[in-house]
Subunit: 153 residues, 2 copies
């Protein structure tokens, strides 16, 4: 397989997006490659060659991606190779999880509230209001997702 310049550029862009989420560069590029690859299942060596990374980097990154969720692999009888692919089944859940991570800051802010004195009323009420806002989002987001699933039936 060869990659068009356009696809190569997209791999980098997607890679950078995932880097910003805390992923290591090579893992981000693998994500990018899997999105743009016309064949959705790629072998270890295809990935390695297409991205020009070493075996060890490929191994480490793939295992990380499998452990943390976004990648899985399938095998075929009589073929020792693993075929790596994006786990498309959990995209919505993974996204919801990222929203939840943001909202989970609420827990820290609640702990903050407990250690604060009553002195700085102004700040405290801002804090309480923001906690309430996070609470609201935590409540409403699941129904938003449910509403979408309903609309797809």
């Amino acid at each position: 397989m060869i990659l068009s310049e356009q696809k190569k550029a997209l791999i980098e862009k997607i890679g950078i997006f995932y880097e910003k989420l805390g992923m290591q560069p090579a893992a981000g590029r693998i994500m990018g490659l899997m999105f743009v690859s016309d064949r959705p299942e790629l072998t270890f060596d295809e990935i390695r060659e297409l991205l020009n990374i070493s075996k060890s980097a490929t191994s480490t990154a793939l295992n990380l991606l499998i452990e943390t969720g976004p990648v899985e692999y399938i095998t075929f009888a009589g073929d020792r190779k693993r075929y790596f692919k994006l786990k498309t089944s959990n995209w919505r859940d993974a996204l919801a999880q990222r929203f939840n991570n943001i909202i989970s800051f609420k827990t820290l802010l609640q702990e903050v509230m407990e250690t604060r004195s009553d002195k700085s009323t102004e700040f405290n009420s801002c804090l309480e209001e923001f906690i309430d806002f996070l609470e609201y989002l935590q409540q409403e987001l699941p129904s938003l997702l449910k509403k979408w699933e309903e609309s797809r039936k």
Copy 2:
């Protein structure tokens, strides 16, 4: 001012939370300190001493926090010191911005769609569905925030 062990632990936890968002450690600790500090306005040297960081690290981190939004400072006539504090006014917007950043992945996926062949139908329809889902969120989130603001009137 002295910090309880509990507050110190919270500063670290909040610091790590901000590190995961791509912030440098010292800046994350400053965020943590400003959340737990009973006095909401702190001077350069208070921050420096409470967190045990150098002047230059303090300066760099504070300027970064001011540039990127979460911190501001006020001054008092006849006092050359700057009093640094959390910018509480934009918490909701900053959070909305982080949601938007996640959703902005949609643009990359649309570019991906354009480069893909029609071969892998299965994958392509997953991709299209996910793009539609992101589209849906992009549409619905603003009204969710508006709804909260209404309820607070």
